[in-house]
């Protein structure tokens, strides 16, 4: 595609030539990516980033982001792409240091959308104290979104990989979990999934639901610094809190007892989940983690969590018990008990 085409009417949108490695691509990077992401390593535009390293263990992760819609109440795909990867590092007990940014843009994507996403991504990286040190941009042809009746796509996918340094002395792992351990969650659950689903389904709730997407490395550091014997951490993304609880149950062959009344859940989220026929425990979060901590350190860890802005509404929601067979059981508000399982696949809102 020629520059001329790009200059006539498509000026404000991504065109195939933006990915062609030529002048247009250079401009995209110089004008739309580097300024918001400003950092020296990235600005050098070398083929790889060179990072200083001292002794210790490297923690390395990657994740791809394909959310629809790209922008939702409380965040966008850019914030998600930083927070998601930072959180994957943080819950392993690592201090996140640097991220890569792989952008796959679809022809036709408005540049203003790209600008907003990158601005948010950059702000989230600053919030998390990590740098985007290397990156790649590709442009793909417009796909089904343009075809009649095709699955709507929004034309922007992100992959971020991240490296971090394992904090010395931290030992986290399913194998450390024992009966008696307490289970903590750092705040109200289900908000990301419900916010995205409500936009996707064109439903508005009385007070708007916002995604909880946030980098949790600061919170996790505060929890580990508090000195309690934290045994396991996992961010409760897809599959929700139920997914993490099921991982613990399956991985350790131990039962978990969860007290429904203690699980933080806003009234709006509760109503939204009810309306969509979803169990809030199985709905995605992007700023919540499940913490398993030794019984005697539960209160101390809870206090540390509540002292952090992202853990103000934290709660101890249950404990690990030694009953067989290994199941996750919810003690309901009504005084009953029922099993909690991980969702089977995509959670579909019900008909009526």
């Amino acid at each position: 595609m020629s520059m001329q085409t790009a200059g006539t009417g498509t000026q404000n949108r991504v065109v195939i030539a933006h990915g062609g490695g030529g002048e247009l691509m250079g401009r995209l990077i110089r004008d739309h990516l580097l300024p918001p992401l400003r950092n020296e390593r990235l600005a050098a535009l070398t083929d790889s980033a060179v990072l200083p390293w001292s002794a210790g263990e490297v923690v390395f992760t990657t994740d791809s982001y394909v959310v629809t819609p790209l922008e939702f109440p409380g965040g966008n795909i850019g914030r998600l792409a930083v927070a998601g990867t930072v959180n994957d590092l943080a819950v392993m007990g690592a201090t996140p240091l640097a991220l890569s940014l792989g952008l796959i843009l679809e022809e036709g994507l408005p540049l203003e959308v790209l600008d907003r996403v990158i601005a948010t991504l950059a702000a989230t990286a600053r919030e998390a104290g990590v740098e985007i040190v290397t990156g790649d941009t590709k442009v793909i042809e417009r796909r089904a979104s343009a075809a009649p009746g095709g699955t709507p796509t929004e034309g922007l996918f992100i992959n971020t990989a991240g490296v971090g340094r394992l904090r010395p002395g931290v030992r986290l792992g399913l194998e450390r979990i024992e009966p008696g351990d307490a289970i903590l969650v750092n705040g109200p659950i289900a908000e990301h999934g419900l916010a995205v689903m409500s936009v996707r389904n064109g439903i508005e709730f009385e007070s708007s639901l916002r995604s909880d997407v946030a980098p949790l490395n600061g919170l996790v550091a505060a929890l580990l610094d508090a000195g309690g014997d934290i045994k396991f951490l996992r961010d409760a993304t897809r599959g929700g809190v139920a997914g993490v609880l099921a991982d613990i149950c399956d991985g350790r062959n131990l039962s978990l007892e969860i007290d429904e009344a203690r699980v933080p859940l806003s009234a709006t989220a509760r109503h939204a989940a009810e309306m969509l026929g979803l169990d809030p425990l199985t709905v995605a979060n992007e700023g919540k983690c499940v913490v398993v901590v030794a019984e005697q350190d539960a209160e101390r860890t809870l206090r540390a969590c509540r002292a952090h802005p992202l853990g103000r509404d934290a709660a101890l929601i249950g404990r690990v018990v030694d009953t067989t067979p290994a199941l996750v059981e919810l003690m309901t508000r009504a005084g009953g008990r029922r099993v909690v399982q991980r969702p089977y696949g995509e959670e579909l809102p019900r008909i009526c």
């Binding site: 026929g277 199941l327 008990r337 008909i351």
Partner: protein, 364 residues
């Protein structure tokens, strides 16, 4: 959140104590079935009280012939099928809509009939078929959309009418008499539309109490207490413990819409066969929006899986654990019957929430 559940459970236990034979009540609606499991109420009920799940899950009662017709329509060139999400995975004779979509058919999940009509507006060169499923809760929205399409002269929109009516199904169950039922817990949201008075035939012809309740644990328990009290006193009346939202006459706007656009018709229910005047089809002036007529598609026969006992489950004749396929050949990951597909299906609820079923993989 305060709850009166413990007191209501005690009251229920007192009322039921020593009842022989035990009281059997049907919760008609899938939302009640799931709420009773999800809130843990099921395990709190006295042994003298048995709750039977009824035919109130729209996915579960949709006959296979309708699924097959939907699949046939979606496979036609130029067609966009718009459906509520939970219909995607229901198996027909030749796979499900989900599989068809993976093979390249254009199938959109929509949250409302209105969204399906928007698709028709956006894609003037395609035919949009809306899979009209659900009870009186979703039927008025379908009717309103047909009316809108008619008003705007939209020619590329039609509906595969699978809508069903709740009260005729309840009467059919009582007429069949296969399962002794002492009363009905009637669904809150359907009742918002049809009104409490709609249940009069159940009381008049069959002398069974009907109590309309909401979906919170306390509301369900209040409904059950009211039902059991009537059973104990040998009374049969319509009682509305959800009167904050359900009126006697129902939602007149919605009912008028239905009366204008639709006519009651005999329709096939999954496994229950054809129940007289239990479905809705489009009234003659709107017949041209009927997908079967527009495409000349005939409903075929139902060939349900030989192992599947969903029909007995939704009529209260069997519990999920009685089915040889339950939690074995039939699981939420590879469902054989619709009761395992829908999140509101009785089998899915048992599989998901019932400790014993989960534990042993079989028995409830």
């Amino acid at each position: 959140m305060n709850t009166a559940a413990p007191q209501l459970v005690s009251r229920l236990r007192e009322l039921c104590r020593g009842r022989e034979p035990r009281i059997q009540l049907m919760e008609v609606c899938g939302t009640h079935t799931v709420a009773i499991f999800r809130t843990g109420l099921r395990g709190l009920l006295p042994p003298e009280l048995r709750l039977v799940s009824g035919p109130g899950c729209p996915v579960c009662v949709t006959a296979q012939r309708h699924i097959d017709a939907a699949i046939e329509l979606a496979a036609r060139p130029g067609v966009i099928l718009a459906t509520y999400g939970d219909m995607l995975r229901v198996p027909g004779r030749r796979g499900s809509l989900e599989r068809l979509r993976a093979e390249g058919a254009t199938i959109h999940v929509v949250n409302s009939a209105r969204t399906a009509l928007d698709l028709a507006r956006e894609h003037a060169d395609r035919q949009v078929v809306f899979l009209g499923v659900g009870f009186e809760t979703t039927a008025p929205a379908t009717a309103a959309t047909v009316l809108e399409a008619d008003r705007e002269g939209i020619k590329n929109f039609c509906v595969l009418m699978c809508h069903k009516l709740v009260v005729p199904a309840m009467r059919a169950l009582l007429n069949a008499g296969d399962v002794p039922l002492d009363g009905f817990l009637a669904p809150g949201h359907v009742s918002v539309i049809i009104g409490a008075a709609a249940y009069a035939p159940i009381v008049a012809e069959h002398h069974r109490p009907v109590v309309i309740a909401g979906f919170e644990p306390d509301q369900i328990l209040r409904g059950l207490v009211a039902l059991v009290r009537q059973v104990c006193e040998a009374r049969a009346a319509i009682e509305n413990v959800y009167s904050a939202v359900v009126t006697d006459a129902g939602n007149c706007v919605a009912l008028d819409l239905l009366a204008k656009v639709c006519v009651p018709a005999d329709t096939a229910w999954r496994e229950l066969g054809t129940i007289p005047q239990s479905g809705l089809e489009l009234a003659p002036p709107y017949r041209r929006f009927d997908a079967l007529e527009r495409f000349g598609v005939q409903l075929g026969a139902d060939e349900n899986h030989p192992l599947c006992r969903c029909g007995e489950v939704i009529t209260g004749k069997a519990e999920p654990a009685d089915c040889p396929a339950f939690a074995d050949a039939c699981t939420p990951l590879s469902p054989i019957g619709p009761c395992m597909v829908s999140s509101e299906g009785t089998c899915a609820a048992w599989y998901k929430y019932n400790r014993a079923a989960v534990q042993t993989g079989r028995h409830g």
